[in-house]
Each structure stands twice: as C-alpha cells, then as structure tokens.
Assembly symmetry: D2
Homo-oligomer: 122 residues x 4
Amino acid sequence: MTLDTTTDTTDSTGTASPGTEVAAAAAHHHGYISDKDRYLTRMKRIEGQARGIAKMIDDEKYCIDILTQVSALTRALQGVATGLLDAHLKHCVLDAAKLGDDDAAIAKIQEATDAINRLVRS
Amino acid sequence: MTLDTTTDTTDSTGTASPGTEVAAAAAHHHGYISDKDRYLTRMKRIEGQARGIAKMIDDEKYCIDILTQVSALTRALQGVATGLLDAHLKHCVLDAAKLGDDDAAIAKIQEATDAINRLVRS
Amino acid sequence: MTLDTTTDTTDSTGTASPGTEVAAAAAHHHGYISDKDRYLTRMKRIEGQARGIAKMIDDEKYCIDILTQVSALTRALQGVATGLLDAHLKHCVLDAAKLGDDDAAIAKIQEATDAINRLVRS
Amino acid sequence: MTLDTTTDTTDSTGTASPGTEVAAAAAHHHGYISDKDRYLTRMKRIEGQARGIAKMIDDEKYCIDILTQVSALTRALQGVATGLLDAHLKHCVLDAAKLGDDDAAIAKIQEATDAINRLVRS
C-alpha cells in the first residue's frame, strides 16, 4: 500500500482543518496506515450501525432500545479514535523524535493533546 | 406516518434487548415519533459523516484531522441520544405517570437511568 | 431528617444558579434525601480520593498511576451524578406529574435533560 | 522542590498499580513536576469543590444545582488528566525516544494509550 503524496488533499467532508498536515514529510506514512484495511472495516461496520439506528427510528422502535445502539456506536467510534491516537503517538511522534526534531515532536504531541481534549471534552 | 402496532418487532440490527418494549401499550406513540423526520435526517447526516471518515482513512489523510471528524461525529451522536432521552422522559414516562401507573413510570425511569449510565459510562 | 424550608439558600460554592429551585414546593423533599447519608459518605470518599491524588502529585508519583486514580475518581463522581438524576426523575418529576402539573413536570424534565447534556458533554 | 528518589513508594491511596513505575530511571523527573505547584493548587481546588458538593447535599439543595457542580468538578478533573497526559508525552515519552530506547518509548506510549482509553471509557 503506497502513500500517493500527489493525491488531491480536498477533504470530502469539507471540515478538516487545512494545513495541519504541513509537517508530514513526503516520505512519511501516517501510523494507522499499516492497519488501514482494519480501520476501513471498522468504519464500514460503524456506517452500518448508523444505518441500523436510522432504520430503528423509521420502524418506530422503542426509544431505549435505540439508545442502547447509539451507545454501542459511540463506543465503537471511541475505539477507532483511541486506535488512531495510539498509532499517531507510536509513529508520527516517535519518528519526529528519532529524527532529533524536538520541535516537530512537541508540535505533534500538542496536536494529540488537543485531540484528546476534544475526545474527553474537558 | 402511522404506528403499525402489528409490525414485526424483529430488529434489523439484531442487538436490541428483546422485551424492553413490553410496557409500551398498543396505542402509545414513542416520544420521538413526532420528530421522526428530523431524527432520520440527523441519522442520515451521521451516516454520511461515518462514510466521510472512511474516505479520509482510504485517502490516508492526517490522523489528527480524522480524529477531529470522529469527535464531531461522536458529538452528533450524543445529541441524538440526549434528544431521544428527553423525548422518552417527556412522553413515555409522563404518560405512564398521568395514567396513575406508578410502577410503569418507575420502570421507564429506571430504563432511562440505565441508558444514561451507558451514555456517561459511569 | 427534616427539610428546613426557611434555610438560607446562599450556596457555599457560590456557583449554583439561583432560582432553579423556585418550583420546589415547601413540603417537597428532593428525591435523593432519603439516601442523604449514603450520598454524604460517597462524597466524603470522593474528597479523600482527591486528597490522595494531591498527595501522589506531592510525592511525585508516576504520572500514569496518578491518571489511573483520576479516572477512578471521575467514575465515582459520575456514579453520584447518575444517582442524583435517577432520584430527581423518580421523585421530583413523578411528584409533579402525579399532581397533574404537566408544566412543572415538563420543566423538571427539561432541567434533567440539560443536566444530562452537561454530563455527556454533547 | 527536589525529587527524592529514595522516597518510600507506598501509595497513600493504596490503589495504584504497583510496578508501573519500574521504567522510571532514578534520575528521571516526571513531566508534570515542573508544574507541580500548579497541579497541587488545582487538586486543592477540586478537593474544595468535592467538599462544597457534600455541603450542598447536607443542606438538601436542589438536585439539579448539585448536578451542575458535579459536572464542573468532573471537567476540572478532566483538565488535570489531560494536563498530566500531555506532560507524560512531552517528557517521559520524548526522553525515552531521545535516548534511542524505542522499546521504552513504545511502552510509555502504550501506558498513555491505556490511560486515554480509561479516560474516554471506550
């Protein structure tokens, strides 16, 4: 699986903050990419869970049963999030540290900390 | 949109706890149903967000940008969850209380409390 | 244990929103009060956990071990929160509903929903 | 404030997992220690918040007002947690990486990931 660094960086969701990827060197693979297929499978399952919840609402199922599925979906998402964070720390941060580039490593840790803050909503 | 109370209760997700709907009387509309279309729209958007995150992974976007989208999706889900809870309390619980059926009202509150526990993961 | 309704409502923490108690009738006991001693015991334990964490910091313990204690304390707090919510719903809300006071019941549910929103930070 | 590396490691809370500090070399200062006084101040304030909530319960304040304070306390705790995590990553992890000790760095990141998992309860 190769990283096509010439790929268009337009974000399909239109919401990613542009420019945060500046520090990613051309030859650098993001940490999660070795597990890319597994993450895609997990996101497919999450998409299916979202579709299942929509169907429960359309079928007018009992609210509490729907809430149970929403909690399960939230947990699945959090699992993806902490997995991505772990990969970010073990690859992006460590690679920068090993290159002796303290500023880049600190910047990447700060991004991770900000992401953790958003996740735990502190 | 009518509530077909004879409808098959098989759950498309296969994970809903069977039997929690026992207390729902035949003529009772779940609280969220008056807002059903709005909830379906929100779930469609959430499904789209999940698909957008899968695409970011497939396009090997920067991990932190993906995490930002995962947090946004989690918050959207939590909004659906607290909305459903609110509707459950304002309709299912209150209807039971107004019928003077204390046991049913308490049972429905207990279900809500259990759902809240799952949501805040206490 | 009597509820002294003439008690000064000045809040020792200085942060409670004044006026939210308006709807509490003079003779009404908040739901958690039958469990008051148990809640006081739990809060004493939580205070002790906070003191223990301060001591770990003062003793310069390993950061991760401190984090483990912070998570345990957070979970203990969430247990208190969901317990209070449950009591609010089973007493304050239900009492209003049984008095046939729909507006008061809905207002109390709205307060609960807002509190849940703050808890799950949606 | 000096780090007494001969200090007794008995944990006042009695709950810290023993042995997680093995990797901390004698001369290593945990990342948060440069901010130790600030963390102690924050924990003192948190302890005061816990005491304030106990007093609100003892004074039989309105449940929703107590919940507001519990949410504020939870957020304060999460701020301490993400601060400690950030310090752990910027010091403990980076120091290990700079020493070229990949295994130690990865082990410390794994501890951080586990702590993040506990924080977001995924």
